[in-house]
């Protein structure tokens, strides 16, 4: 809403915008353009000359195993996020009941979200340690030796081990978002449905779940962003290994730029990441619009 004094133009407004837009122009807009331009060049990060290579970096990118694996892993992270949402929703429904201590439970579950991701990653590295880590120790302790695994070394398992860390760290966030949404739904609606003879499951399926549609969509969008730009947890826990099994687009950018001084190729991967992200979000917006017509 724009107020009623709409006919009166305030030129002073630009002064108010100046600090924000200066930051924006220098550190957000300029970098986007810089990336785009750099992605068509070879540059080692130091020399004065940028060598024009056209689409070479993009061609190379589509042939790289690591980029394919990054995309696969992004989809696995997204699947993990959907699982996360499901668990969070069930927990939110549970904690929406008047249970003594539910606020304490919510606080505890929220803690992993507040702590730095790198601390979470190192902690889980310790837990997953196949020889001395507590996870395998417990499995062996209860006689489930066959379930003790090389959690981060097994190429098929490693990515899921990392997905689990993501679920654990992000659950508290999804939970409080669902909980807040649930609390904003009028309880009398649900009570009325119960009076009309609907079972608890039916109320959830046909009333609560659809009413939370907006929340689902917000969380899905955040999940897409998180999945495509995943970095610190796999970077710290496995460095993207073994043999690229847990790599991500951001890890590929980091490696190429800071280990190999391939700034141009890194920029190309960055541009690619951004394009994918924008396309996915537009796609999601599009699907949202379709649903509203229903």
């Amino acid at each position: 809403m724009l107020g009623r004094r709409r006919n009166k133009v305030k030129w002073g407004a630009y002064l108010f915008l100046l600090p924000a837009f200066t930051l924006f122009a220098v550190f957000v807009a300029y970098p986007i353009g810089f990336n785009g331009y750099l992605s068509f060049h070879n540059w080692n990060g130091v020399s004065d000359t940028w060598q024009w290579v056209g689409l070479e970096h993009f061609e190379r990118m589509f042939g790289e195993r690591t980029i394919r694996l990054s995309l696969r892993n992004a989809s696995f992270f997204f699947i993990g996020h959907l699982v996360n949402m499901a668990i969070a929703l069930l927990l939110a429904v549970l904690l929406n009941n008047p249970i003594p201590g539910r606020n304490l439970a919510r606080t505890l579950i929220f803690i992993p979200f507040v702590v730095a991701g790198s601390i979470v990653a190192v902690t889980w590295q310790t837990i997953y340690d196949p020889n001395l880590g507590p996870l395998n120790a417990i499995l062996r302790g209860v006689g489930l030796d066959s379930l003790a695994q090389n959690w981060l070394a097994d190429p098929k398992l490693a990515i899921w081990s990392i997905v689990v860390v993501g679920i654990w760290a992000g659950l508290g966030f999804n939970l409080v978002v669902y909980l807040a949404s649930l609390q904003s739904i009028d309880q009398s609606l649900r009570d009325a449905a119960r009076v009309d003879g609907a079972g608890r499951l039916q109320v959830f399926r046909f009333l609560t779940f659809p009413l939370l549609r907006n929340t689902h969509l917000v969380l899905i969008m955040l999940g897409i962003i998180g999945a495509v730009q995943g970095f610190e947890v796999p970077f710290i826990m496995t460095g993207g290994g073994p043999y690229g099994a847990t790599t991500t687009l951001a890890i590929e950018v980091y490696k190429n730029v800071f280990n190999f001084s391939e700034f141009g190729y890194g920029a190309a991967v960055s541009v690619f990441t951004m394009v994918i992200l924008v396309m996915l979000i537009l796609l999601q917006r599009f699907l949202l619009r379709e649903q509203r017509i229903d």
Binding site: N42, G45, V46, Q125, T126, Y128, D129, P130, N131, L132, Q149, N150, W151, L152, A153, D154, P155, A158, M237, T238, G239, G241, P242, Y243, G244, A245, K255, F258, N259, F260, S261, E262
Partner: protein, 420 residues
């Protein structure tokens, strides 16, 4: 020039020294490098030479090369740079050849250096750096207490190594510990396997003279998989992190893959409150029964060079001589290359806690430099190639790819990089 935050402390230090000596210092020598630095050396130098101030700026190695290149381009380079010898070639136009300085210096004699170490810092026939901290890789450390307890002998060939690993596993210890998550640690093993399976061929492949798909190199890579499958390393070796190294220092492992640089450090069992197990160096076993008892890879951890455009070359040379003389405060060798790591407190700890280990290690290192099969490990070439080999090892060890295919991938990367 780079950042305000560092100028303040730097200025403060200079001012403090100026006040402390009550003498105006005419010259400031700036040293840039990586690692923990060697403040002790420079403090002593400044005590003796009050007219020369020395400032030391340390950064992570990953940033060093770009940082130095930027500063050389800008004409604002430090007077002395600390580099890995493999990187000297990238700065050959910026560094001062040191041969004449040494030859004309009455205090120094080139013959007193460990000669093979010195050759590492020669580029295009010019001595561009003073090597410091010679290192031996292609060696292992074992926990002697555990070996004694289990009645084990130091393994010298692959069958013995396998047997020792099994005995350790049976006793509930980790066998041969490798931090597989760390590319350098993997490469330490791969380099030894290349040495045994394809003597001399790694250097040829780095130079682009032969392809990385050479059957002998492939065989070396394939043997890494064999070692993993035989259970020589601890389980889940490719998912390991530094925690497995800590496990060794906590007395939970039999053998660990680390070079001589680990001596006196936290890793090799020296902690503020003593040692868990006496840890001693051992040669990498002769995995091919080649008959060559030992093929240690030798190198120097770093080297110091002088900026040829420095306005204070004479003062910088005085500092360099101090580095040569005192670079390791604990060096008690009859050679002019200090040998001990100058980690924060490690040499002191090593001396205080475990003289036996220190002496054994010293003898071991000197033997390594004299070993018949010893070879100089200059570099892996470009960072991409090194990374590709480390990745190949990771893929082979986790059964994701055969050694042939993995080495083809290495060759593809090498060709792309060489063609750049």
């Amino acid at each position: 020039m780079t950042e305000r935050s560092l100028w303040a402390p730097r200025l403060l230090i200079i001012v403090l020294f100026a006040l402390g000596f009550a003498v105006a210092q005419d010259v400031t020598i700036e040293i840039v490098g990586w690692g923990s630095g060697q403040a002790v050396v420079y403090e002593e130098f400044m005590n003796q030479n009050p007219s020369i101030a020395v400032t030391e700026q340390m950064m992570p190695f990953g940033d060093l090369i770009v940082f130095l290149k930027t500063r050389f381009l800008a004409g604002e380079a430090p007077d002395i740079v600390q580099l890995q010898p493999g990187h000297l070639i990238e700065f050959r136009d910026n560094l001062l050849p040191l041969d004449d300085l040494i030859a004309s210096d009455a205090e120094l004699d080139l013959a007193n250096f460990v000669q093979p170490a010195l050759t590492i810092t020669i580029v295009d026939g010019m001595l561009l750096g003073i090597p410091q901290h010679p290192i031996v890789s292609g060696m292992l450390w074992y926990n002697k207490d555990i070996f004694d307890e289990l009645g084990l002998q130091v393994p010298t060939d692959y069958d013995e190594l396998k047997a020792v690993a099994q005995a350790c596993r049976d006793a509930g210890h980790l066998p041969l510990i490798l931090n597989g998550g760390d590319a350098w640690n993997r490469l330490n093993v791969v380099e030894q396997l290349f040495a045994y399976f394809a003597p001399g061929k790694k250097a040829q492949a780095v130079a682009g003279e032969i392809p990385w798909t050479d059957p002998d190199l492939v065989a070396g890579m394939a043997f890494f998989e064999t070692m993993v499958e035989d259970g020589v390393f601890q389980d889940g070796v490719m998912g390991a992190d530094f925690g497995v190294m800590t496990a060794f220092s906590e007395g939970n492992g039999c053998i660990v893959v680390q070079g001589s640089w680990a001596k006196g450090g936290q890793l090799i069992g020296i902690r503020p409150e003593g040692t868990v197990g006496l840890t001693l160096p051992m040669p990498f076993p002769d995995v091919t029964d080649s008959g060559l008892a030992w093929m240690p890879a030798l190198g120097t951890g770093h080297s110091f060079g002088i900026n040829k455009d420095s306005p204070n070359i004479e003062a910088a040379w005085e500092v360099m001589k101090q580095i040569i003389r005192l670079g390791d405060p604990l060096a008690n060798y009859p050679v002019l290359i200090p040998v001990y790591a100058s980690g924060v407190d490690s040499p002191v700890m090593a001396r205080a806690n475990n003289m036996g280990q220190l002496e054994a290690t010293t003898a071991f290192e000197l033997a390594a430099w004299d070993a018949e099969g010893a070879f100089l490990n200059d570099a892996w070439g470009f960072a991409e190639v090194r990374d590709a080999i480390a990745e190949a090892a990771s893929g082979v060890a986790t059964g994701q790819v055969s050694a042939e295919v993995a080495m083809r991938e290495v060759q593809r990367v090498a060709e792309r990089v060489l063609g750049r």
